[in-house]
Each structure stands twice: as C-alpha cells, then as structure tokens.
C-alpha cells in the first residue's frame, strides 16, 4: 500500500488526478495501482531507482507512450477533471496542454527563432508581429532572452547544452502549456547550467504545474514541493508508487522502510 501524507487536495478538481493506474509494454506489466493527485502550480518530483517506472508514468501523462507500439493502460488519469484516456480525446491537443522537456536537449536543427515559433505556427499563428511577441516573451520566461536576443537567426544547435535545454523550455512555453513534464532535464547538462534550470523551475512554478523525474535526490530536495517515490521491488514484477507527500517531511521522516532505505542510499 502506498503511504500518503498531506496528499495535495484539489477542491476545484484542478490538476492531475490518478486512480488505480496500470500500464503495460506489450506483455510486460510495468506499473500497477498508482493513485495520486498532482498539486496545480507546484513542483512535484518523481524519484526512485532505475527501471522503477517513474519516466514511464511521466510519459503516460501526455500520452507520449501512445507512440510506442503495444502499450496499454488501465485506470483513471484526468487533467482538470477530464479523463485524458477517454475515447475521442485527441492526444495531439493534450500534448499541447501538457508539454514535455527531455533528458537530452533536443532543439530542432533550425534557428532559435524558428524553434520557438514552431509550436505557435502549428496552432495557426501566422502574423509576424504576433510570432515576434511570442518568441520574445517565451525566451524571457526561460531566462534566455538576454543571451540570444541579437542572434535569433543562429542555429539552435549553436547553443551550449544548458542554453539548449532552456531553449527547449522556451519552445514549450510558447504554446502556453498548463503542465510541464520534465524527464531528468538536468542529467545531460553541466552543473552551472543545472543551477539556472533549477532557478527557472522555481520561477515558473507559480504559473505552471511542473512534474520532474530526477535521479538526484539532492535535486528533488532542492526544487520540489511534493515528492513521489516509485519502486520495482523484484525484476519482472510491475513497479508502483510507494510513498507520496510533502518533500521536506519525506526527507526528514520517511514512513515506509523502503523509502527510507532509498533516501539513505541503499537502493541503486
């Protein structure tokens, strides 16, 4: 059973609500019985050893797993009260509302401007001045504007790894998502850049719900308001959510012995 403590309450049904969620890759049962509520406009961290299903669960939240053949899910996952797996729901539109940042910064091999304008263009924004505004404001929100303002025509790949990651964040912000999923966003960039991305997350949190998967417990402690610990206890068995609640409390007094052994470093 999952240990819950001060699970965030959503009286207005806002945020993400998950009930008895199961997930399969083909025959492999990857996740079982996940129940949780993600607090809107807060930072929630998913932690756990490799292969514990935290990234899989994250990718379920904007249905990126639909792109993988043979995947299947059961249970309820809703965004602001709407079941995202209900028949007829357009995953394309869902992904616009639930943006994603990946481990490896992945700017398109196009100019910085075109990278940020990509999403708005998809949505049908054609006016040059509208696009200019969106690009500028998105880059400002991602704390990148000052570094690139005079060189928007440069290729996105010309940026450093940390800058590329902030460009990817700006690119997502340009379509005004409600939720930002971050799949180990700092594991492929240098430590100075990590600091910048973490600062940026703190700045964005009051306006966007952020969910971050991280391998680094220090990072989870530094940035997150809530924390969820996932674990696959035995190879071949499905992983599940073990403990969920306020980050500080979990770190100071873990209630489940498995959580305790993980945060004191006994698991991978």
């Amino acid at each position: 059973m999952t240990v819950y403590r001060h699970a965030p309450k959503n009286p207005q049904g806002e945020g993400i609500h998950v009930e008895d969620f199961n997930f399969w890759y083909g025959d492999f049962h990857a996740l079982t019985g996940v129940n949780l509520d993600i607090a809107p406009r807060k930072i929630t961290a998913f932690i756990g050893p490799s292969g514990c299903g935290k990234s899989t669960f994250l990718r379920c939240m904007n249905r990126m797993n639909d792109l993988i053949e043979g995947t299947r899910e059961e249970g309820l996952m809703s965004l602001d009260g709407n079941d995202i797996y209900a028949p007829g729901v357009d995953p394309v539109d869902l992904r616009r509302r639930v943006g994603m940042i990946f481990q490896q910064p992945n700017p398109f091999p196009k100019s910085i401007y075109e990278n940020v304008a990509f999403g708005p263009r998809l949505q049908g924004v054609t006016s040059k001045s509208d696009l200019d505004d969106i690009v500028e404001e998105s880059l400002k929100r991602a704390n990148l504007w000052k570094e690139v303002s005079g060189q928007l025509g440069k290729n996105g790949l010309a940026l450093s790894g940390g800058q590329q990651q902030r460009l990817c964040i700006a690119r997502v912000l340009a379509v005004q998502p409600d939720v930002l999923l971050m799949d180990e966003p700092c594991s492929a960039i240098d430590p100075t850049s990590v600091q910048k991305v973490e600062d940026l997350m703190a700045e964005l949190a009051p306006t966007v719900t952020i969910i971050i998967v991280t391998h680094s417990m220090q990072q989870a402690a530094r940035v997150s308001d809530y924390m969820a610990f996932f674990l696959q206890e035995r190879a071949g068995e499905p992983a599940t959510l073990i403990e969920y609640g306020d980050t500080k409390e979990i770190f100071s007094r873990p209630r489940d012995p498995r959580t305790e052994s993980y945060i004191t470093g006994r698991f991978g």
Partner: protein, 664 residues
C-alpha cells in the same frame, strides 16, 4: 635500490604481514632469488619492437593499400580504355557528327542525340513515377507502420532490389506491354512501358537509402515535435523530412543513376528505334540499349561510336556521384558550422529587469505572469485552419500507407507472375537436361553450371581484394585526400552502368588479354561489379565496430594487425558476409556484363577459358525469340529462386549477427 624495487619490497612486506599467524608459504624469492632480479630489470627497460613484427605489420599495411589502389586503377582503366577505344569518334566522326541527331551506322551517321533524348525521357518519367512511390514508402516504413509491417515490407523492398533486371524486362515484355498495346493501339514498346518498369526498379534503391536518412534523424527531435502538440503529418512534414532532406536528395540522385544506366530491362521493352521520341508509346532507344543491341556485330567507326557512348554514360554517372558527394560534404560542413559557430552564444549570469532579478523575488512572478498573459493573447489570434489538422493527418497517413502497400503489391505481383507460370516447367529433366532444337526445348543444365561457375570465379577474384581494401580504408588510412579519392573512385565504380563494364570487359579481357569469350573474361568483368559493393559494406561494417572495443585490445598490448584480425574483423563478420552474399546475388542475375564477355552459345564449361551461356542471357534470348515462353518462365523462376535464396540467406546472417551482438 630504485623506486620500483622499493615499492615491490614494501608490497611484499605488507603481503607478509597479512600472512602473519598463518603457516607462511615459501616465497618465490626464497626458491629462485635470481628471477626476482630479472623481473625488476624487465620492469625498468622498455622492450624494442622486434624487426620481424615491424616488417610484418608494414607489409600487411602495404598489401591492404595495394588492394585499395586496385579499385582506383579499375575505375581509371575503365575510363582510359573506353576513351582510347572511342578515339575515332574525335578524329573521324568529329564531335559535331557525334552530337547530331541521326543514328544510322550503315549509312555512316553516328549521331547520338536521339539516343540521349531517349535516355532522358525514360529516366525522367521513371523518376516522376518512382520517386513519390519510393519516398512515400520510406516515410511509411520509418514513421507510420507498425514494427511487424515494417519488417515484412522492408524485406519486400530488399527482395525487389535483388530481382535481376532481365526478369523486370521479361515482366514488362509479357505483362505490361500487352496492356499498354491494348490501351494505346500500338505495339506497347516505348517510353511508357519503360517508365513503369524502371520506376519499380528504382524504388528499392531510393526507398532503402531514404529509410537510412529518415532513421538517422534524431528521435529526440521527433519526440519534441509530438510533445508540443504536432500531429504525425506535421512532424513528418516540418521536422523529419527537412532533417533528412540531404539523404533523400542523394537517394534520388543515385536512383536516377540506376535508371540511366539500366540496360537489359530497357532493351527488352523500349522498342529500340533510334529516333527522337514523338510519343510516349512509340518505340525509342537509349544509350544503353543501343550499345547492347549493336555490340555483337559492330566494327570500325560503329564500334568506336559505341565506346564513345560508353564514355558519355561513364561521365554522367561519375558526375552524379560527384554531385552526391558535394551535396553531402556541404551539408556536413554546414551542420558543423551551425553547431560550432565562430562566435558562440555567450552565457550570461546577470538577468535583465524583465527577466526578474531572482527566483524568489515577487517581481519575477509578476514578469512571468505578464509574459504568460501576452503569449496567451497572441496565441488567441491564431487562425483556424481551413481543413482540420486531423483530417489532413489522416489523409497523408493514408497516402503514405498506400505507397507501402503498392510497393509490396508489385513485389507479390512479379514473384507471383514468375512462380505461377514457371512452376509447371520445373521438372528434373528441365534442371538436369540438355537444351534441344534451337535451344528452346529440353533442359537448361549447361546454363545453370555456367552461371554458378562464373559467379564462384568472380567471387574468388573480388572478395579478397575488396575486403582487404576496405580494411585499409577503415583502419589504416589517414582520413585525408587519398582516402576521399579512393572512396569517390569506388562509388563511381559502383554506379558505372553495367553495360559499360561489359564494353570494357570485352575490349580488355576478351580482346586485349586474349581470354576470348570465356568464364574467365566474364568473371573478371563481374568482379569489377562486385568489388565496390563488397568494399562499401565491409568498410561500413568495420566502421560500425565501436572504438572502445579497439581501445580495449590496444590497452592489452595487441598490435594493429592483431586488433584487426582478432577483434575487428570477427565483430564485423556478419555484416561483411551479408555484403558478400548480396554481391553474389547481383552477379548471378547480371546480364549486360556477361552478354559479350562469356558468349551466348550453350556449352558446359570445364576450364576457365571455355565459353558458355548464363541463365540471365538464356532468359533474355528465349524471351526475345518468343519461341518457347514456357522455358523462359522456367528459367526465370529458377534464376529468381537462386537469387532470392541468396538474399534471404544474407538477411539471415545479418539478423543472426545482430542477435549475437544483442547478447541475448
């Protein structure tokens, strides 16, 4: 006492302390005091490389270089020889006469413009039909299809690539020609028939290379596009295709080379009238078909003109390969410059006021909120698309899927056509019997033997040279001008139309070397066909062996040759074997090369200097004569079975290799 001896001493004392209390075992120095000294000495002095090893490594390297240079020499020789044989074109016919419009050798007119026009017409039409089909199929297989469908259809595409051109020509002649004749009222020989057949033939080339290009697009970029709410079509159209553009353009250029150089299929269906094409259903001729047609009986100026056409074909294909290389290297340079610009974008710590002074400050929140509001209002200005995104997506997915289905259907159709008509012919007597009458009755045993004979011989010639040359290019060579040049030469050799190699083989092996029409002449000419194919796959296979595996072996003190022979080649073996087997498949089905190097008389070859008639040539002659179509179908089926067996075997090897690498 030197430093290292001190360390050894200390280490031994610690070791002894550990053993304290135990029954102390006799120490090595207690027994052999001198040995310890010898060890210490060897630790101080570095051994010099002994001369024999040095000479061996050096000789091996030179041998590999020699093999690589053979490829270059072949390219140069083909060009020089063909050019030399065409000299009368410049001296007697004159360039003006050569590039004029009348081709009438019996009246002394050797103008090739009509033939050039025929080649151009046939090629352009084939591209117009084939390119959308091939690229669509590649997009379908890499972006849309499920893994199982991809496996089936890409096998189909590979098999299409393996089917010899004489079978395509046969199919065009017996199936497509009557249909077109009925529709147009003519005989059905002409550009239209050639378009359809050539379009099918270039699909595998373009599809396979486009798939490589599409698969090498960073999957992260694709995911990023999806995660921002792009539909599949938007992702393909706006992200994946632009990223794979260069590779796809190259694929099309190489497909074009294939179409221009194709001989047998065209020869069988264009009608062979060397006049300017006046309609797409009237008979025309191309450069390649005219060479194949006239080669057997030409002499004097007529012969020189044919070699001159060979030079033209050679220049065209070398030019196309050059274009591909220029496009590729330019795009690589551009990518490098984009990712490592002269003035990198500086990272700055200070934030602007608009960006907020710090994460915790309330003004940062305010700035974020106002930016968010502005973005939202601008997004609200978006126009609704005229057609819904999902409808477009569905439509385009359907179009691409159709391309995949059509390609598979064509394969099934061709194979089905040959199998259904050929199967009743296959009897023991057909396989092991001797031809009777005008060679159209009875069995085809001598042609089977001739085909296998020449293929084995060609493989023996080509494989060692090709593999060793590839080892040189991938492992030994400085990656500079010379290597670039050798690669350009092999790429050119790979794209030289086979009829030009047939011309060259005839002039050099049959005539100049005096081997006559024989297994040996044909095998040498076929080896030229196989050489670049095997070299390319071997080099790719060697390069795909991870560097760290090599470092591991070097770190253990292996010499270069030991690393290559014990680590790299075994690791690359499955892919090398696949390349060899595929090249063998190509050689078995090759017609244009053997037509005038091996001869056309039915004969059971014993010595390499015996002549014979290979199966593809037999099929070509049977189909053209039209006396006994049953025998033609039977020959086609046997030929196809042999080649498909080789192709499936190659897939099996490469799959097994991949499984072993996976370690499970």
């Amino acid at each position: 006492m030197s430093g290292s001896e001190e360390q050894r001493e200390r280490g031994r004392e610690e070791h002894d302390e550990l053993l304290d209390g135990l029954d102390r075992p006799p120490h090595i120095s207690d027994i052999e005091p001198n040995k310890d000294e010898a060890l210490a000495k060897s630790a101080r002095e570095l051994k010099l490389m002994d001369h024999a090893t040095y000479v061996k490594e050096r000789l091996l390297k030179d041998l590999f270089l020699l093999c690589a240079l053979i490829a270059v020499a072949a390219v140069a020789l083909i060009f020089v020889f063909t050019l030399a044989k065409s000299l009368p074109v410049f001296t007697d016919i004159g360039l003006g006469g050569f590039f004029s419009s009348t081709w009438a050798p019996s009246e002394g007119h050797y103008g090739i413009l009509a033939l050039l026009a025929g080649s151009a017409l046939v090629t352009v039409g084939a591209l117009v039909i084939g390119v959308p089909l091939a690229v669509g199929c590649a997009v379908y297989l890499t972006q849309i299809a499920t893994r199982r469908v991809t496996r089936v259809v890409s096998t189909a595409v590979d098999l299409l690539a393996g089917i010899p051109s004489v079978i395509y020509g046969f199919f065009g002649l017996v199936v497509l020609r009557p249909i077109i004749a009925n529709a147009s009222g003519g005989l059905g020989f002409g550009a239209l028939t050639a378009w359809l057949v050539l379009a099918i033939m270039i699909v595998p080339t373009i599809t396979t290379l486009s798939m490589d290009a599409l698969n090498s697009v960073d999957p992260g970029v694709r995911e990023a596009s999806f995660s921002m709410g792009a539909t599949r079509w938007q992702t393909i159209y706006k992200v994946v295709l632009p990223a794979a553009k260069v590779g796809i353009v190259n694929a099309i250029v190489l497909g074009m080379g294939r179409a221009i150089g194709e001989t047998m299929a065209v020869l069988m269906i264009v009608g062979n009238a060397p006049v300017f094409p006046h309609s797409i259903t009237s008979p025309v001729a191309t450069l390649t078909s005219q060479i194949a047609l006239d080669m057997g009986y030409s002499s004097g100026l007529h012969r020189a003109a044919l070699f001159g056409m060979g030079v033209v074909l050679y220049v065209i294909s070398a030019g196309l390969v050059g274009i591909v290389r220029i496009i590729t290297s330019r795009s690589e340079r551009r990518e490098r410059e984009a990712s490592r610009p002269a003035t990198p974008v500086a990272e700055k710590d200070a934030r602007s006021v608009a960006e907020g002074p710090s994460a915790s400050d309330a003004s940062a929140l305010l700035a974020q909120q106002s930016s968010a509001q502005l973005i939202r209002s601008r997004l609200d200005n978006a126009k609704k698309p005229r057609v819904s995104k999902n409808a477009t997506d569905g439509l385009m997915t359907g179009v691409f899927s159709a391309a995949g289905i059509v390609t598979t259907a064509i394969l099934v159709l061709i194979i089905g056509f040959v199998v259904v008509n050929g199967a009743p012919q296959i009897t023991p007597n057909f396989i092991f019997g001797w031809p009777r009458g005008v060679n159209a009755e009875g069995g085809i045993f001598p042609t089977i033997v001739s085909t296998l004979y020449v293929t084995v011989l060609a493989t023996l010639f080509a494989t060692p040279v090709a593999v060793l040359a590839a080892v040189y290019l991938a492992e030994y060579a400085h990656q500079g001008r010379l290597v670039n040049f050798i690669r350009y030469a092999t790429d050119t050799l790979a794209s030289v139309p086979s009829i030009v190699m047939g011309l060259f083989g005839y002039a050099v092996f049959v005539e100049a070397c005096g081997f006559g029409l024989s297994m040996l002449s044909a095998a040498l000419a076929l080896a030229l066909l196989m050489l670049p194919l095997i070299m390319r796959t071997t080099e790719d296979a060697i390069r795909s062996v991870p560097r760290f595996i090599r470092w591991g072996a070097y770190g253990l003190g292996a010499s270069k040759w030991q690393v290559v022979s014990k680590i790299v080649l075994p690791a690359a073996f499955p892919r090398i074997a696949t390349g060899i087997v595929l090249a063998i498949g190509r050689a078995i089905g090759e017609t244009a090369i053997v037509l005038y190097t091996m001869g056309q008389a039915v004969n059971l070859p014993v010595t390499p200097l015996d002549s014979g008639r290979s199966m593809p040539v037999h099929l070509y002659l049977l189909a053209n004569d039209g006396i006994n179509m049953g025998a033609a179908y039977g020959t086609a089926l046997l030929l196809m079975i042999m080649i498909l067996a080789f192709n499936l075997f190659a897939r099996h090897i490469s799959k097994r290799g991949a499984r072993q690498k996976g370690g499970k």
